[in-house]
């Protein structure tokens, strides 16, 4: 029997499982570093876009719009194929981190912005009347509350970020998807290789998805969110796709 899922092909996958594991670890590393970068960019630009300084507002708007409305593939190809013409050659690992970090930073920035603006204006005024500076208000009053609201959509973004690290396979980045692809293109055992890869991604993403949903339900039960907000939440959760 020689179908796409024959037994001997499965055996081959499990014999070489350490190769897959290596790819899995690369995916994990890129995801973690990418997340850190995305969080830093997201918080900075998210806070700036709600601030008073017009220039910063415009800059963060441009960042969000440009990144959200152009494909990740083009952005990563630019880092990989374009930058060398400026004599900047980055290692693929770094391109992966930069690529998903900057891309999801834009989405997280929107999540943070929506979180901040959803907190009642009265709180800003109350803090101001108590003599808090803008930074102090953000640091002690607004951001701690924002964190609670935005954790579910953030977890969702993390799932999308992990899935998007598969972009590395398009530039030979050594991640899980690339490993599966190159391993199976050598021996044509696509079937089992993709199933195993899918399971590994699923193991990484599903717990996060569950976590995000649990928190969302908890928040929903605590405060009665009107429909407008829940649609808004849905938008934040699903935007960024993939």
């Amino acid at each position: 029997m020689n179908g796409p899922f024959s037994i001997f092909k499965w055996e081959a996958v499990f014999k070489d499982f350490s190769i897959f594991l290596e790819g899995f670890l690369t995916t994990l590393e890129v995801s973690i570093l990418g997340l850190i970068l995305a969080l830093i960019l997201g918080v900075i630009f998210g806070v700036l876009s709600t601030g008073k300084i017009k220039v910063f507002k415009i800059i963060s708007r441009i960042y969000v719009e440009v990144i959200q409305n152009t494909p990740l593939v083009i952005q990563v190809f630019f880092l990989f194929n374009g930058l060398p013409y400026l004599k900047i050659v980055l290692p693929v690992f770094l391109i992966g981190v930069l690529g998903v970090g900057v891309y999801h930073g834009a989405y997280i920035s929107e999540v943070v912005r929506t979180g901040i603006t959803s907190i009642a204006k009265g709180q800003f005024e109350a803090a101001k009347s108590q003599g808090f500076s803008h930074i102090q208000t953000m640091r002690y009053i607004i951001l701690p509350q924002t964190v609670k609201i935005i954790i579910p959509p953030l977890a969702n973004q993390l799932v999308n970020l992990i899935k998007n690290t598969s972009i590395l396979s398009m530039i030979a980045g050594g991640d899980l998807m690339y490993t599966a692809d190159s391993w199976s293109s050598a021996n044509m055992y696509y079937g089992p290789a993709y199933v195993v890869t899918g399971i590994l991604y699923f193991l990484l993403c599903y717990p996060l998805a569950i976590f995000s949903r649990k928190l969302e339900l908890k928040e929903k039960n605590k405060v009665s969110i009107n429909t407008e907000d829940s649609i808004q939440g849905q938008v934040i959760a699903t935007e960024g796709g993939l």
Binding site: P4, N69, Q234
Partner: protein, 210 residues
């Protein structure tokens, strides 16, 4: 500049854009249809169909699109364009289902009770009361998802489907100076930006109207 944007090259790129939009639009339409069915099954069927919908949605939402693009291209023997449409439809249906479910869940429980009390059957309640409202509420999110699909069709270049990004990359192979390369990158990104930004602005307008 004229070496980059001569008539032949522009036609070459536009051909790619045509394929990008064809694949994206067909996939979006199909996945809205299947997504609605999956959402209804997941919310209202307690039996095997409901369980199937849940498992389907969770699997596709927690694995990368690229995995499906590659698997379908290599394991299903159909023409490249159809394999692109198939992988996007499979993947996006799960996302559309969750968006639509969010919309359905935001319709208050009282409306079901009111409909039942007026003698509506379960099917009638869905068809005439719940779905129209859910659908209307989901339109902005559907459109944001359309932006994502248009962007993500560029992943299809991974299996050699010559959509807009693919055509751009092929064209790039014939250029050597950094000026030409950056010009082409600018054109590619700019084209995606114009299309997607227009839709994004539309989403924003609709949202404030609601």
């Amino acid at each position: 500049m004229s070496t980059v944007f001569n008539q032949a090259n522009i036609m070459f790129l536009l051909e790619g854009m045509k394929l990008t939009l064809t694949i994206a639009l067909i996939s979006i339409a199909l996945s809205m249809f299947f997504g609605t069915i999956l959402a209804i099954l997941r919310n209202f069927s307690k039996g095997i169909l409901g369980r199937f919908a849940t498992i389907y949605i969770e699997i596709f939402r927690n694995t990368p699109l690229l995995l499906w693009i590659l698997s379908i291209r290599f394991l299903v023997p159909i023409r490249p364009m159809y394999s692109g449409i198939l992988s996007f439809t499979l993947f996006t249906s799960a996302i559309m289902a969750e968006i639509f479910r969010g919309g359905m869940n935001s319709v208050s429980k009282g409306q079901y009770e009111a409909a039942y009390s007026q003698g509506f059957s379960k099917f009638q309640t869905l068809r005439y009361i719940i779905l129209p409202q859910s659908f209307r509420r989901c339109i902005p999110t559907f459109l944001s998802q359309a932006v994502t699909v248009i962007k993500d069709t560029s992943f299809l270049w991974a299996v050699g489907i010559e959509e807009f990004t693919g055509k751009g990359m092929i064209l790039m192979g014939s250029f050597a100076t950094s000026f030409q390369i950056f010009l082409l990158f600018g054109a590619l990104a700019g084209m995606y930006f114009i299309i997607n930004f227009t839709i994004s602005c539309g989403v924003r307008t609709i949202k404030t109207e609601y």
